[in-house]
């Protein structure tokens, strides 16, 4: 029997090879190297399934594959960690990447884009980086692939580099996420300094050492005698900086809407399975560490809840299809952070899974609409596309129902579980309860903007010539949509916790059992372990668990339906009109994204002096020292050069004097002359 885990590196390397092939020989290949990418991601997908099956067969894998630097204190290594979480994520990433590759045939090749080898090379590297990040067995390796993911997003968002918008958006995405990554990098160094290791799993891993240190049985380094728990909170928040940047959480979310300048399949990949997912995945990966620090958890939950509501409100007024989706992404990742902060590890992973499918679906659906509309993204120019592109419509509808959290679509189950976890854990925690309230308020807003988008795009009368006669799309667009559409409907059934609780049907919460190592996994990386070390206790309303489940689900579903109903009333008419004027002054605030971009620019200008000061320091002191050293060396060199007079008698003199000097020094030192 061949060992599935022996092929873990291949999962990462296959897309990497497709990157090399597309880069080197893409020009000579049919379709600009697309088939290589499809074959590679398909191969990775099949291998991932196989690996997941092996995990389901009760096994796990944690190996160091390569030590690239070894010191006395610690080793820097590359390794692979396959447990239920990473196996699940591998399947998601490879599946979405595969579908995005196929979709790109329709979106890029059929539309006659140029520079395709560059595009497919970017997709390949993007996928490979994300897969490397997923299988990483230590924080440093994760950081390196995290950065590669950031680089690839830069390359792909700026794909149309000849237009003014994309390069600027790419730069923004790179810089804003980089800002968060600085903290992450400091956090990585702090983890090494504190624990001497950055491994995620095993006896000597840093979450295990942190747990031991808090229990008083271990000894770790802390700066300046800081308390262990305080220091862990600081380290956790530092790493969280990278997460906030990549997962587009408030206040570093501003890059994501701009990133819509990239080709739509890339947006699908970024939002569903790679870059944005990386942040949340990282918290889940090292949840054993975060669960130890209640303060960090509370911060995560509050930021998540706030982002969920905050981004949703901005999505309400957007006119462009992809912009609405962009804000919905920010908002949905806010939910995941809320779940993680609320101790709902499984809920977060659940939402990550369902969201990956329905958001990829929505983006690819939007891509399909954009093809049909000849790259006009303004929803006010659309309308009535329902009858002209039924496959896109029905799949998009499925995705929207999932996003809005309507029973029984995928999003309902995962969002409901998040809110439930936040509620039961938050009854004793005010910060968490605040997160829950904001998450709950975001539900109707989400449903509203989602269906505003659906109605404006597909319902009513066509509002432009292109909408009356849209361009047809081919199999390579419809195929991925169908696959994802089906998944958006059924993925929720992998974890029907409410049904289990209400009806008492044991064993249908498959995801819970999967992440709880019920089939296979690594000791210390299971959801019940996280629950054990976590700070939360459960409280119930309405007198017990079952009523709480029912009330929670009913409230969130009711709110979602209310939002949907409002959108129906306002926009599901033959010729909808803008209602944003009714919002009054808030409208401008929302249109301008709460002026956060302006705030960042303002802050940038205010900090200009600091930057200028550092520049002066760099130019004056640092460079001055360097230049000074070089002038001194050159002057010194000229002097030394003058010793070499060319007269051999002087050489003999100096040689003798030098020897005598040496004799005297050593003689005095050794006491020979006494």
């Amino acid at each position: 029997m061949v060992d599935a885990f022996a092929y873990v590196p291949a999962v990462v390397l296959l897309p990497f090879f497709s990157f090399l092939v597309a880069l080197g020989a893409g020009k000579y290949l049919p379709k600009g190297g697309a088939f290589g990418g499809i074959a590679a991601t398909a191969g990775s997908f099949l291998l991932s399934i196989w690996i997941a099956t092996a995990v389901a067969g009760g096994r796990a894998y944690d190996e160091t594959l390569y030590t690239w630097a070894a010191g006395d204190q610690f080793e820097l290594t590359f390794g692979a960690l396959i447990d239920p979480l990473s196996a699940l994520m591998l399947v998601i990433v490879t599946l979405v990447a595969l579908l995005v590759h196929v979709f790109s045939l329709g979106y890029m090749n059929d539309e006659g884009e140029t520079g395709l080898p560059r595009y497919y090379a970017g997709l390949g590297l993007f996928t490979a980086s994300m897969l490397g990040f997923v299988v990483a067995d230590n924080l440093l390796m994760a950081f390196m692939f995290f950065e590669l993911v950031g680089l690839c997003s830069y390359l792909l968002i700026g794909f149309h580099f000849r237009e003014p918008g994309p390069p600027s958006a790419a730069k923004k995405a790179f810089l804003v996420t980089r800002f968060g990554d600085y903290f992450f990098l400091v956090g990585v160094v702090a983890v090494f300094a504190t624990f001497g290791t950055a491994a995620f799993a095993g006896e000597g891993s840093f979450p295990a050492l942190a747990e031991a240190a808090l229990a008083g049985s271990g000894d770790v380094w802390t700066p300046g005698g800081l308390g262990v728990e305080t220091w862990f909170t600081v380290v956790g928040l530092l790493v969280l900086g990278g997460v906030v940047g990549k997962s587009a959480q408030f206040p570093l979310h501003t890059w994501l809407p701009d990133a819509m300048e990239g080709p739509t399949p890339v947006s699908a990949l970024i939002h569903a399975a790679t870059m944005v997912a990386a942040g949340v995945y990282l918290v889940a990966r090292m949840y054993g560490f975060y669960a130890l620090t209640p303060t960090t958890l509370a911060v995560i939950a509050f930021v998540g809840g706030f982002t969920a509501l905050f981004a949703a409100t901005m999505g309400v007024v957007k006119d462009e299809l992809k912009q609405v989706l962009a804000y919905s992404t920010i908002s949905q990742y806010g939910y995941m952070m809320l779940a993680l902060g609320a101790g709902g590890y499984v809920a977060a992973v659940f939402h990550l899974t369902t969201h990956a499918f329905f958001k990829a679906l929505l983006f690819l659906g939007a891509g399909s609409v954009i093809i049909a509309m000849h790259h006009n993204e303004d929803m006010w120019d659309m309308g009535g596309l329902r009858s002209k592109m039924p496959v896109t419509y029905y799949t998009f509808l499925a995705g929207s129902l999932a996003l809005a959290g309507i029973f029984p679509f995928a999003g309902f189950w995962s969002k409901d579980e998040i809110l439930y976890e936040a509620l039961v854990h938050g009854l004793n925690e005010p910060l968490l309860l605040g997160g829950y309230v904001m998450g709950l308020l975001a539900v109707p807003v989400t449903a509203f903007y989602t269906f505003r988008m659906v109605f404006l795009t597909f319902h009513g009368e066509p509002r432009s010539a292109t909408a009356r006669d849209p361009e047809p799309v081919r199999w390579n667009v419809k195929g991925p949509l169908t696959v994802l559409g089906s998944l958006a409907v059924v993925t929720g059934f992998i974890n029907m916790v409410p049904v289990q609780k209400v009806l008492g049907l044991e064993g249908i919460d498959y995801l819970h059992r999967w992440l709880d190592n019920e089939w296979g996994g690594i000791e210390g990386l299971s959801s019940h372990h996280y629950a054990d070390i976590g700070p939360y206790s459960s409280g119930y309303i309405a007198g017990g668990e079952v009523p709480t489940v029912l009330v929670g689900a009913a409230v969130s579903l009711g709110l979602a339906l209310a939002g949907l109903g409002l959108a129906w009333r306002l926009y599901n008419v033959a010729s909808p009109t803008e209602h944003t004027a009714k919002l009054g002054g808030i409208k401008d605030v929302l249109y301008n994204n709460y002026y956060l971009d302006e705030l960042q620019v303002w802050i940038a200008y205010r900090t200009e002096d600091i930057a200028g000061g550092s520049d002066t320091f760099d130019q004056g002191i640092i460079d001055g020292v360097v230049n000074g050293v070089s002038s001194v060396s050159l002057a010194g060199g000229s002097r030394v050069r003058r010793i070499q007079t060319g007269l051999v008698t002087q050489y003999a003199t100096m040689l003798t004097l030098g020897l005598i000097a040496l004799l005297v020094v050593l003689g005095l030192n050794g006491g020979w002359f006494l």
Binding site: L634, G637, A652, L662, V665
Partner: protein, 503 residues
């Protein structure tokens, strides 16, 4: 009987070099009309390669290794073949092979090149003998055996004033240094009553009142070593000899001859004057080496930074590298477990240096063969006409500067790390500062070759020949410099094993 024969075969690397030199001399003497530059070069190269092969075979077979019966001694203990000797013989033989191959093109129009080959091989024989010397008398004889052919080699271009003048200066400074060295040996003999290292070492432990005499003798021996390694204050001959000599000779002297100085130093100072006993007697020779190393690397690098001619810059850089290698002797401390590491690193640095420095001088030889001038400006735009050779030169420069990913980075890294671990942070720090300075002047060469435009469009028209053998030698040295990176593990292990046998 067979034991004696077996012991003598251990000397075969040195004997092969010497016999080749003799054969060349005989042919040159009795059949002067039939000699040809090519056949001479081929024979000498084969001789050097045969010696190298035997040496490498011995190293691999573990001959003289501690685990395989230990060192092989001959002639009443005056000669000793061990891993250290074999390691350095490999350096000498490699450099000799490179130099004689390159010389074939360099002396293509010379009237009588035969003497060059035999002199080079005799000098190499002397070096191989130095590596196995286990008595101060053998050391002195072998040292002279290296020096005398070297003087002649520097002055080999008899019609070139620079060459002759450099040879004369080298000879005068050399004579003075030899006198100092010999005086030192006699003082040590007076104090200890022996010339064989092992007996000297046991006598050093009970010097009592004679400590001052022995101390002066030892410092004078330090002086002799400093002459051979071109270290301050015995370095004065080096810039002029390296500059005036034919470039292959400069390569030979600055790589092989310098390494020969170091093998003597490593052996004499660890086996004849063990640090613990010497310090107990008040003779802290490691301090002397620390002073010499610090001054040498600083002077070499700072002077190199202000040179206008590439060859002279390389001459000073060669002095600077002697300073780095001296760290291997300076950063020792009594009984420290890190001694092997730092001395092994110095040996590995000398091996790497043998290739990169020889290659750099041979590139200069090629430039001289083309006749394009000697300054940095004259090298401007060279990469357009000779991209392969210039790439090789860039490899040498960056490796000499100690930039990753070249072999020079690793050897320097291990050297400095070893020094730090032995508590000589200041010496390693000084070495690092000097490396930064060196980056400046090494990169000047690369910039001139690759980035600058030639002064006049016709400046490079002189490059009309492709000296095949020179090219081959330069490219081989470059390949070796690059391949020593993945192959650095075995090299440093062999070097540390050689050093371990000394302590």
């Amino acid at each position: 009987m067979s034991n004696v024969t077996a012991a003598w075969t251990a000397l075969s690397p040195a004997l092969l070099l010497g016999l080749t030199g003799l054969a060349l001399l005989v042919v040159d003497t009795i059949r002067p009309n039939e000699r040809s530059n090519t056949s001479m070069a081929v024979v000498s190269a084969l001789g050097a390669l045969a010696s190298l092969s035997v040496t490498v075979w011995f190293v691999i077979a573990g001959r003289g290794h501690v685990d395989a019966g230990g060192a092989i001694t001959l002639l009443e203990g005056a000669v000793k073949v061990d891993t250290l000797a074999l390691f350095f013989t490999a350096i000498f033989a490699s450099v000799t092979a490179l130099v004689v191959v390159a010389a074939h093109d360099y002396f293509h129009d010379h009237a009588n090149p035969a003497a060059f080959y035999s002199l080079t091989l005799f000098a190499a024989t002397g070096m191989a003998l130095l590596a196995v010397a286990n008595s101060l008398a053998v050391v002195f004889v072998a040292l002279e055996m290296v020096s005398l052919p070297s003087y002649a080699l520097v002055a080999f271009l008899k019609k070139n004033r620079g060459s002759v003048e450099a040879g004369l200066k080298y000879f005068l400074v050399g004579a003075l240094s030899s006198a100092v060295f010999l005086f030192g040996i006699s003082l040590v003999y007076a104090a200890t009553g022996s010339l064989v290292f092992g007996e000297v070492a046991s006598a050093v432990e009970s010097l009592d009142a004679l400590a001052g005499v022995a101390g002066i003798g030892i410092v004078m021996i330090v002086g002799g070593v400093a002459f051979k390694t071109a270290s301050v204050p015995f370095h004065f001959w080096a810039p002029e000899a390296y500059e005036g000599a034919p470039a292959p000779v400069s390569a030979f002297l600055s790589s092989a001859s310098k390494a020969a100085g170091f093998v003597v130093a490593f052996r004499v100072f660890t086996e004849a004057f063990p640090l613990g006993a010497s310090v107990a007697a008040g003779i802290d020779w490691a301090l002397a080496f620390a002073v010499v190393a610090a001054v040498t690397m600083t002077l070499g690098n700072f002077a190199a930074a202000v040179q206008e001619e590439v060859k002279r810059m390389l001459a000073y850089s060669s002095i600077g590298h002697a300073g780095y290698a001296l760290i291997g002797l300076a950063a020792l401390s009594t009984g420290s477990a890190g001694n092997e590491a730092v001395m092994g690193a110095a040996m590995a640095h000398l091996l790497v240096y043998g290739f990169m420095n020889t290659g750099a001088f041979l590139f200069v030889a090629m430039a001289e063969r083309w006749g394009i001038g000697r300054t940095f400006e004259d090298y401007a735009g060279l990469a357009r006409r000779a991209p392969v050779a210039c790439t090789a030169m860039a490899v040498f420069m960056f490796s000499l500067a100690g930039l990753p990913p070249f072999a020079g980075f690793f050897s320097k890294y291990f050297l400095f790390m070893g020094a730090i671990e032995n508590g000589f942070l200041w010496l390693a720090g000084l070495g690092a500062v000097n490396s930064v300075v060196s980056l400046y002047y090494y990169s000047r060469v690369v910039r001139a070759m690759f980035l600058d435009d030639p002064a006049t469009p016709s400046a490079l028209d002189a490059i009309d020949v492709r000296p095949t053998a020179l090219y081959a030698a330069v490219v081989f040295a470059a390949v070796a410099t690059v391949l020593l990176l993945p192959g650095f593990g075995p090299v440093i292990e062999a070097a540390e094993a050689a050093a371990a046998a000394l302590f």
